[in-house]
């Protein structure tokens, strides 16, 4: 196994779009299954997690009725992969390890409960010259209720 100094395990790409129809059609045509759409009131966006047996998960993110953090981003880009999401047993230890590796990291938001991931704690950070990362606390092999696994098509 390769050395993973940060204790981060990849979970999904975050794809921000103005309108989800084409992105979901594109992903479904690739063989992805799409979870039920949820509105996350804390992040003020709509979300659908797309899973595939052979390709990385993609979280499609689009605005709801109220102003959202992705509004200005999608004014300039109709579709943009804007974050990488990982799971970690300890997000705090991961952030400390990133800092100790000499990378500049800043907390982008206080940690929140994510509706799409069963209320699990998520937090966002910005790593200089890398971009936005999301960290879900926990070990997904123990979750058992993750949305958008193959067969969960809604």
């Amino acid at each position: 196994m390769r050395d993973n100094r940060f204790g981060l395990n990849f979970h999904h790409f975050g794809l921000a779009v103005r309108n989800p129809d084409d992105a979901l059609h594109y992903l479904q045509s690739l063989g992805y299954t799409v979870s039920a759409t949820v509105h996350d009131p804390l992040q003020r966006v709509n979300l659908a997690l797309c899973a595939h047996p052979e390709m990385p998960r993609v979280e499609v993110v689009w605005p709801g009725a109220d102003p959202s953090p992705i509004d200005k981003m999608i004014q300039r880009h109709s579709g943009l992969v804007y974050h990488l999401c990982y799971t970690a047993e300890s997000p705090e230890r991961a952030v400390t390890a990133i800092e100790r590796a000499g990378l500049n990291i800043v907390a982008a938001s206080t940690s929140k409960e994510a509706v799409l991931f069963g209320g699990r704690e998520v937090s966002f950070f910005f790593v200089e010259n890398v971009g936005l990362i999301e960290i879900i606390r926990g070990d997904p092999t123990e979750w058992g209720d993750e949305p958008a696994e193959p067969g969960d098509v809604t």
Partner: protein, 80 residues
């Protein structure tokens, strides 16, 4: 504690670099609504650059509470 004028001069340099606009002047009333490219990702790049330039560290709560450049300058001054 750094003088307010020095903070705004330094912030102007940072804003010009981050937003690639040599005409930008950091003033207290400036907000994300005033600059087309100031989205949530650019805001975080801006915060990181400010932290490095002034040798300060902001909490997530402080970052998300900022409403304009005046509040950013005040926060920088309080931490230097």
């Amino acid at each position: 504690m750094i003088d307010t004028t020095d903070i705004y001069e330094k912030l102007s340099v940072i804003f010009r670099d981050v937003f690639e606009d040599e005409t930008l002047i950091a003033k207290p009333s400036l907000t994300a609504d005033d600059i087309a490219g100031w989205d949530s990702l650019t805001n975080l790049r801006l915060v990181l650059t400010v932290q490095k330039a002034f040798g300060v560290k902001f909490t997530a709560h402080e970052i998300t509470s900022l409403n304009n450049v005046g509040e950013l300058a005040t926060l920088v001054q309080a931490k230097t």
